[in-house]
Symmetry: C2
Subunit: 216 residues, 2 copies
DNA sequence: ATCTAATGTTTACACTGAAAACATACTAGA
DNA sequence: TCTAGTATGTTTTCAGTGTAAACATTAGAT
């Protein structure tokens, strides 16, 4: 049905990535922990053991999806940072908001990335590396900020850890529905204010100069 | 075997709470998502459908466990706050560190509380209330701090949200193994420094007065 | 054209959450 | 004290899951 790629044209065409796409869709709908390989296989009209030719495990599949998620997250926060190449504080603000936007738009994917289904400690260096590349975007802004004298004289790594923890916590609480009472407009202000308080903790500038309403 | 309560002495004695205890133990060992009701039932030498007389659902059981977790968390952070009734900053620091200690000592329980297996949005008001009581400990310190002029003049709720997000993010990253490279001593300093940076964002005091090494 | 490896299918097994029908044992009311 | 009635526990059963093993097919190299 689908016009196949030039390279290889096996039974399905490219089941590996088709399977990943379909899995993502199901995850977005029903959540990570209710994902069933068989259901995805059914969606694709393929036998229930077909995926095992491409993924050793269910965990393997999830791990690849998480990896892909970290990549996307790194990409879109990086883009956000690029909006203000000259202004550290604005850049950080944008990175934060785009990070939160990603979490909000792909809550279950985000949960997969950090949910603990995959243990980041042992094994799977690939995954760990990609997740660190996501951290790298933040780290880069911190380094820049310290160099420019916009941020306090501390290890950029420490500052990055601080920002990451804060924004990660916000993201988790956000997708866990702890801010569910706020309506869209209020929520936006809340999130910005929270980032703002974090910025206040690491900047050398007076409060007034921290932007509260930069577009993402 | 166990000397029963005076009140009721049924077949098992008190299977409901025995089941919860056993479940907690298994969760601590193998993680939340691998918990099987049948396995717990086997541990207790009881039939596999026995739990269904006490919990409508697997979700119901998990929800009760989460609730219990929030209660414990609220208790131990509250105790920590009581260590410094006169000193806001020290108190907040202690609350933060004891929060992290709880997460570190009961990682899988903590993950259950926030992991998204239970959705906090819809239904289960009980759970939501208890989780808010946990939030209340932080909120109380913020209110006090603002009153005393130790914290900046902002909505205590906002400040509490800020602290909670930060410490929650740290807790999640901690139990997800993102700080796995640090050894115990380093880790302690890292965590304290991260809390310290947060405090710097919400306090009126100069940096030097923020305590870095209060005991928990 | 044939061989081989990559891919997909069928079948099978052990495990799970949960419903239904049944059995027991405690508690209360006569 | 005897007798319901109800709270508790068991047996049986079903549909759904992850995954291993044996088998079938197809693509690409020789």
């Amino acid at each position: 049905m689908v016009p196949m790629n030039s390279k290889t044209q096996y039974h399905h065409g490219d089941l590996a990535s088709a399977f990943m796409d379909a899995a993502i869709k199901r995850i977005a709908q029903e959540g990570v922990d209710k994902l069933s390989l068989r259901a995805v296989a059914r969606d694709l009209g393929v036998s229930q053991t077909a995926p095992y030719r491409h993924f050793t495990d269910k965990t393997h599949l999830l791990s690849l999806l998480a990896q892909q998620g970290f990549q996307e997250l790194a990409d879109c926060t990086h883009k956000a940072a690029m909006l203000h190449p000259q202004d550290t504080l604005k850049a950080i603000m944008c990175v934060g908001m785009s990070y939160l936007k990603f979490a909000q738009e792909h809550p279950e994917h985000y949960r997969l990335m950090f949910g603990g289904t995959l243990k980041h400690e042992c094994g799977n260096n690939e995954l760990k590396n990609v997740s660190l590349s996501s951290f790298g975007v933040i780290l880069q802004q911190m380094t820049l900020g310290v160099e420019r004298g916009d941020l306090i004289q501390q290890e950029p790594t420490l500052l990055a850890h601080s920002c990451w923890a804060k924004v990660h916590g916000m993201a988790m609480l956000l997708i866990d529905g702890f801010y569910a009472d706020y309506e869209a407009r209020e929520l936006d202000t809340l999130l910005r204010s929270l980032l703002w308080l974090s910025l206040r903790g690491i900047t050398t500038k007076p409060i007034s100069q921290i932007p509260l309403d930069e577009p993402v």
